[in-house]
Homo-oligomer: 490 residues x 3
């Protein structure tokens, strides 16, 4: 379909208004780098593509190659001498009858626009056709102004514009279709701008005019051809893309309670019947199943969530898998490299890191599970810590099925808690616990009668002060003075 068409993508310019950032072309929009929106669209349309690169060329080249199996050509523009010069740098790659030239920073352009431009170009036997749009804001200083005068048409680059721009005008989108034969001759006739000393691709229009060649324009909605020269423009484009993605998922049966707050990356998939709460963000290639609930302020990053999972509020899941029917959160952090099997509950102030959790497991409060394997139906008490690091290396904790770990346990890895074993609350488990055994590692309780009174008397004044001021406590201890007495008593 596009056999006699090839594309030149201009991707060599400096991103001067992005300050201290790298090339704008590698800034991500809904999880995909800006330049890839163009290259992937052209790949999908099977149009041969050449990128003209210069500023940050290595970064852009390696990014594009990583996503395209080396099918794309790269031309190099050493100095930034204008768009016309950039096109000139790609001369060795001109092969097809028609050459599509476009900027790398218009990620919202569609297949339909390119196709329509091409059809109109062919039907009218134009030597040059280009996309225009109606400007909505005279402050948009980065677009050339298209001036039509009878049969003549020209583009005045913003940088060269002498007069204040009027409220309303037609802009040049920077997307051209040029007859190769015409281009080969006309490119040599470009002259330097008096203002900037650059060669402008836009002067090809005037050259065509002078030669009485056919010029076509194709008008589109401005939103599709928004270029990105500032971080404000980047934000606007991402907003449009984000809205498009969210509308798509709404049409697939996903309910967003406060869609204006959500972020969904381009490559995410979401099953129907799922509800998404306020502020939820879903990144990378995450896959969310059917009939899930993801509550407010949760973030899912590069993870697979199967069907009927409830992710409660303020929960983070990174590069992990959660199977059917689990409940994760609130306030849970599943770190990279973890998996949670079906019907498990992991909740408040619990971290799971590089661990595999079985099915039917409950880990519900204030717990750290790292480098662990947890069998089916294990129950882990509040405040439990797997001590997976000894200062030198990480060790594994294995808790076999049906085991029951008491609260506030420290499980010192490497350690294995056998099937159906119990551990007593407050234990430090340093050696393996056999199947069905009970491990206990704690001291008997002693109640010192009236001792609280003794403490208070010792600190009588302080105590009075305390009760008067209602001082706010932090993390209570027993007084050190008392402590020494205790030691003797023991």
């Amino acid at each position: 379909m596009y056999n006699n068409l090839q594309a030149i993508v201009l991707a060599a310019g400096k991103s001067s208004r992005f300050i201290s950032r790298q090339s704008k072309l590698i800034e991500k929009i809904c999880g995909q780098e800006m330049i890839l929106y163009i290259t992937k669209l052209l790949e999908k349309m099977k149009i041969d593509t050449t990128l003209v690169i210069g500023h940050k060329r290595e970064v852009i080249e390696s990014l594009v190659k990583a996503h395209h199996n080396n099918e794309i050509n790269f031309a190099f523009q050493e100095e930034q001498k204008g768009t016309g010069h950039a096109v000139l740098c790609s001369r060795e790659f001109w092969k097809k009858d028609h050459i599509l030239i476009l900027n790398g920073d218009v990620p919202l352009i569609t297949e339909q626009i390119i196709n329509s431009l091409f059809q109109k170009h062919l039907q009218n036997n134009a030597v040059i056709s280009f996309v225009i749009a109606h400007n909505i804001d005279p402050q948009m200083k980065s677009y050339g102004r298209v001036v039509q005068n009878g049969n003549s048409i020209k583009i005045i680059e913003a940088k060269d514009e002498t007069e204040e721009r009027k409220e309303d005008f037609c802009i040049n989108a920077g997307i051209y279709l040029i007859n190769k034969n015409f281009l080969e001759i006309a490119i040599n006739e470009l002259y330097e701008s008096k203002v900037t000393k650059e060669l402008y691709i836009t002067d090809l229009i005037e050259i065509a005019n002078i030669k009485n060649q056919k010029i076509e324009t194709f008008s589109v909605d401005f939103d599709f051809i928004r270029g990105i020269n500032t971080l404000q423009e980047l934000w606007a484009v991402e907003q449009i893309k984000r809205a498009e993605i969210i509308k798509y998922w709404m049409d697939c049966g996903i309910r967003f309670s406060t869609a204006q707050n959500n972020h969904i990356d381009l490559n995410v998939t979401i099953g129907s019947g799922t509800s998404i709460g306020s502020g939820v963000q879903i990144y990378k290639n995450s896959k969310i199943g059917n009939n899930c609930v993801i509550e407010s302020f949760s973030v899912i990053d590069g993870s697979i969530i199967e069907d009927d999972v409830v992710i409660k509020s303020h929960t983070l899941i990174e590069n992990s898998t959660v199977k059917n029917n689990c409940v994760i959160g609130s306030f849970t952090h599943i770190h990279s490299g973890s998996s949670v099997d079906s019907n498990s509950i992991i909740s408040n102030f619990v971290e799971v890191k590089k661990s595999d959790i079985g099915s039917g497991v409950k880990i519900k409060h204030l717990t750290y599970i790292g480098d662990s394997e947890i069998g089916n139906n294990v129950n882990i008490g509040a405040g439990t810590v797997t001590c997976n690091y000894n200062g030198f290396k990480k060790e594994k904790t294995i808790i076999q099925e049906d085991a029951f770990i008491g609260s506030n346990n420290s499980l010192v890895a490497p350690v294995v808690i056998g099937k159906g074993a119990y551990t007593a609350a407050g234990s430090v488990i340093t050696s393996d616990v056999p199947e069905n055994s009970m491990a206990i590692a704690r001291t008997e309780q002693i109640n010192k009668k009236d001792y609280a009174q003794v403490i208070r008397e010792k600190f009588n004044d302080a105590s009075t002060l305390l009760s008067m001021t209602g001082a706010i406590s932090s993390s209570p201890v027993i007084l050190s003075e008392v402590r020494s007495t205790e030691s003797k008593d023991d």
Copy 2:
């Protein structure tokens, strides 16, 4: 006032574009099911109401009954054969002189619109009157187009429309007032659509035209009569409702810092002088007192918060009560069935579940309180866990007033800590502590001189590696090799 008026609500249709969800009519908008917006409005206006149900009839019938003391009639439409057929199915309930027919999916309709339509209908002796609006988006495919031609008026259903719709047209809102006598005759004259084989209520208009009967239209702002056929339309309607609710509370003296991010359910009440932070959501019938502060990203669900309470950021409170002057959060989770008396502080990484907390209590860090009663002025140290579950059943923890629980305690329920008692840091409390006693359950500390050096020498290479790479640690332990040595030493 509306004695000679009754209403037929069409609630039988499939929600085909809601995919995998149940009937759209039970989707909640600001906490109230869509269908109840109509039925409650009609109830408030004391208009006799009949619901025509079909798809998911049981669900809708039981929901409506649960909210209306059985005052509403239900007609059943077995097959989905169009709006005209749905009206026909309600025939046995036609009793009043005038019949208001409207869809169940227009939740933003107001008393004023129905009243004005009725007055105009009466004043003009119309046989049929209906609500129209100006369309703002020609893509809105779900509305019939109203075509006026001299005295004649008709509605072309979107499904039957043959030509591409123009940019701008008048839509039929689907809200009709029909003279009963006319309806009884005209309903028999409805014919099947050639396109869909359905009977359309809209054809009654044409029938009235043919009969030279008086037809009235009443024009309203489109926002009031938005119907909901897609999840996008549901989102739009909820946005409008949400904005209306938030504006109402602003007028009552509540400051919203970032109102566009907040969600407040229909039945929530908020006292004046209260400030609401970014992202805050308040659900169900929550009552917030005067002069409260609710900081960002907190969620209040079905709870009573009294006056002068500060709820800090990232806090969840569910089906619980918090009395005057408390400070709750940041990062606190008060689960269902809890109460917190005045002047208490519950804060970072603390969970409270099915527990009653007294006044002047401090529970400030990394603590789990479940199935507990906490007396006045109790102070609970960081890292404390009430061990309320033994694998078989839940047990209670009672901490009496003025008690002071040391940090990192495990309180093994059932257990009672007496008035004014102390527990030492790190204790596992397994039996009751009498009043004013001090409980201690821990081992004496032993310092092994230069032993850290011994460990390091054993792992000399690893240690060097560690210091060179700055490896990131997780959860430190003491090496197992060393551990065995320790055991011998002890």
Copy 3:
């Protein structure tokens, strides 16, 4: 430049529509009190300023004085008898040839507007000049309507308006420049409104008309002169200010992923290359360095964050300092008065309060550090608590460099852990640990063979029930019945 110009700011009115709040003039907009937007603008322009105060006069006077080194005069209006009366109350301060009169509730007014008004006033030899704007909403009831009729011009105060306002009209912004000589005479000619019995400053216009004096108007965009009489208007103004601030920082090279959700106070500074996630809020005079990442739902308040810091999601930092290259969060709370030196990591469910953390420190899980000094390269295990409060006073915990604290430790302050020392997991450290020593305070583990089976048999029925119902556990313990047996065995 403005030598012959002085300003009278009307700040005496009641904020009746702010309900239960104090004066609207002290409500903050992007972190600065409303009235200070005017007074600081006038100070910057070096225009002598007099505030007319009345309602909540002490609060306003002390606020303004605290920010202005007493350069501002205060006139007192005892009764609220209209704007004309308010101006009259400032009579003793009239000194300059031209008097700028404006309301204290128009915080978005700019230097350019005042300057242009003044220039136009001078050039045209007007006795009175005032700012007008085009009204966008006829519901805006708080603005006077400007009526021009040939050469005559007058303002009809909203309160005195008899007819329904038309859709579109010119409003009086309440910003006047008046010739002092004219004012001195005309002020005596003001008469009471028949409707409100107030004196209106706006009637000066009519008086000038009658006297055939020159009157000038200066038209500006409505957004600049928005007044604030309701909390809705306050919200709208803060939205505009917030957008302005965020656009400014975008131009400085900061990327906001979802700018519509962010809040940045007026006095915050942000280094270029920094990225700001969804919902992030930055308050007071926080300074954020270059190339930082601040992830979603984090709040920075009055803190200094140096370069290359990553603040992960759901993190709070208050009145603290974080140096280069640290990683803070997710779910971290750095309380007031803390500092974290470079290259440290503080993360999930960790609180730091009034503590100084060295460089290269790792505190990664479920830990409370209060009133502590932590040396360089210290590693603190999960679940550790510094027990800094004994019920009477706060004590310090000192952990010297290279120390390694095992998991689930309780460090009972005051206590010093020496350089390079180790503590064993699960220890309660009550006395100092010498350099390079290892401290251990825990009991040896006992494994009771088949004891788990014994427990299960005891609760056989319950156990069966449990496995059948899949009951959800909370915080596991060992049964109290078993517990007593244990005690005997020990």
